[in-house]
Symmetry: C2
Subunit: 292 residues, 2 copies
């Protein structure tokens, strides 16, 4: 199956899963609306698609894959809601729409983020077709990837990095944590659900790390080369805030070289899976060539 068809099939299912998970909650209307608003705002659904693609490449499907994919998307979405707050990035727009706190106020936005994060662990705990041992593996890794040693730690480093010029190694560490950890977890979660062998797990983890870095380098490149309309957010924001970026530290052509390096390492990692991992090959190309 090619990636375009795979996405067309799965994106509505991801959307539906997110909706029904929120609708089944018996909670105050404002909180439900706020959680739902940011989940429905869409975006590329890269993490759920990566998870589902890995399950597919490993030979099929898993009845709980969509639920785990939705849990990860909730974590990603909570992180965006909190990152957009006035005391953080102070963004009014996200994916071309007003940010959560602009619509629901800061208090409810913070709480909607908290609720999405908390719910994601409950969703995994209540899966019907995964053993308790595998649920615990998923929850353990999810907590590490999303928490202080992963995404949250990366966000702290990112904020602190705004006040100084980072080295390339420091910038890479920010991205490994802030974006890479949860992207890699999406892939590893797919590997667990798909019953990967230890060798496949190693290959997919390596794929995840390189894909995560490629994703962020392309993000930085787009901030220089893209338009606000394409990005659905303010372009050139990094440069105007003097934030350390790959093009800023390396020049644009060298940043593109680095992007190509991580993309080719990602592709090399998955060749060892055997077969023809078309979806993951195409996803790598998509991440490198995307314009938003």
């Amino acid at each position: 199956m090619n990636l375009t068809l795979f996405r067309e099939m799965n994106e509505p299912l991801i959307q539906q899963e997110l909706s029904s998970l929120i609708q089944e909650l018996n909670i105050p209307a404002s909180l439900k609306d706020s959680m739902d608003y940011s989940l429905q705002a869409g975006g590329k659904r890269i993490r759920p698609i990566l998870l589902l693609a890995v399950v597919q490449e490993l030979g099929g499907s898993h009845p709980d894959a969509l639920k785990v994919a939705a849990a990860i998307e909730m974590i990603h979405t909570y992180s965006l809601i909190h990152d957009d707050l006035p005391s953080m990035d102070n963004d009014d727009l996200r994916r071309g729409m007003p940010t959560n706190h602009k619509v629901y106020g800061e208090a409810v936005a913070i709480l909607a983020g908290d609720a999405l994060l908390t719910y994601s662990f409950g969703i995994v705990a209540r899966l019907k077709h995964v053993s308790s041992d595998d649920k615990i593996r998923l929850i353990d890794l999810m907590s590490v990837s999303a928490g202080a040693e992963g995404m949250v730690g990366g966000q702290v480093l990112d904020i602190e990095g705004e006040e100084k010029k980072l080295t390339l190694a420091e910038l890479e560490q920010v991205h490994r944590l802030k974006t890479g950890a949860l992207l890699t977890f999406s892939i590893v979660a797919g590997a667990i659900l798909g019953g990967a062998t230890p060798e496949q797990m190693v290959a997919l983890s390596k794929f995840g790390e390189h894909i995560g870095l490629a994703f962020q380098i392309q993000d930085d490149i787009l901030d220089v080369t893209g338009t606000s309309q394409e990005l659905g957010k303010t372009a050139g924001k990094d440069e105007s805030s003097e934030k350390s970026t790959y093009p800023g530290l390396l020049t644009l052509p060298k940043a593109k070289e680095k992007l190509d390096y991580h993309a080719s390492e990602a592709l090399a990692a998955i060749q060892s899976l055997g077969g023809n991992p078309q979806l993951l090959n195409e996803l790598t190309a998509l991440i490198v060539e995307r314009n938003n």
Copy 2:
């Protein structure tokens, strides 16, 4: 064992567990300091003590009880950090000390809360002496108690309630969720670790619900009768903000009657445990009679 001795023995152990759990994290210094600051700020450790007391009443000890107690205290602490933010309660003082965002700034305070919440699930997932099935029970209930259908939902109702006069039933619902859910979970978690029978679980859940309500009614009463020095926070704040409270809706004497009712229901529930649940009896008295 009496409660005074039990607390004197266990409070340093809880403190030590919290410290060592934070110290073992490999994370940015500012984030670690911020997480540690609010955990060390102390407080009554009611939730960990409740959990440990239940384990004790059920006949002894559990090698992972302190870790679960610490995880619950982290969730409680994260909720205080977020509640104190300028966009929420806008409190400068907590337990007589500057609130987290006053010391570390709003961005790091939000992220420290996020990190504590995320870590708490990882701590339970990595317990050494609990079966995967029981870990999943704990994580499932923890997610519900702390999330949109529990504590976070209660905080939303509490914020929305500030703008209108609540009925007694609405006020009770706020408290059941905002404070009661996590208090009850502390007790149920102790019951799971202590190997409670189904009958004991029912009795302890009932105990938890009444203790939770008693706790909050006493909180409201103290806001009227206590001094800022005793409370370590601004007294009379509820009245000056025209917030719905038990004394406000019922008069002070009727609020005290209601407090006594829930305390005696709590005591009645635990008598069915058999033996002489001295620690839980004394904890009930402590919650009713405390002055901060």
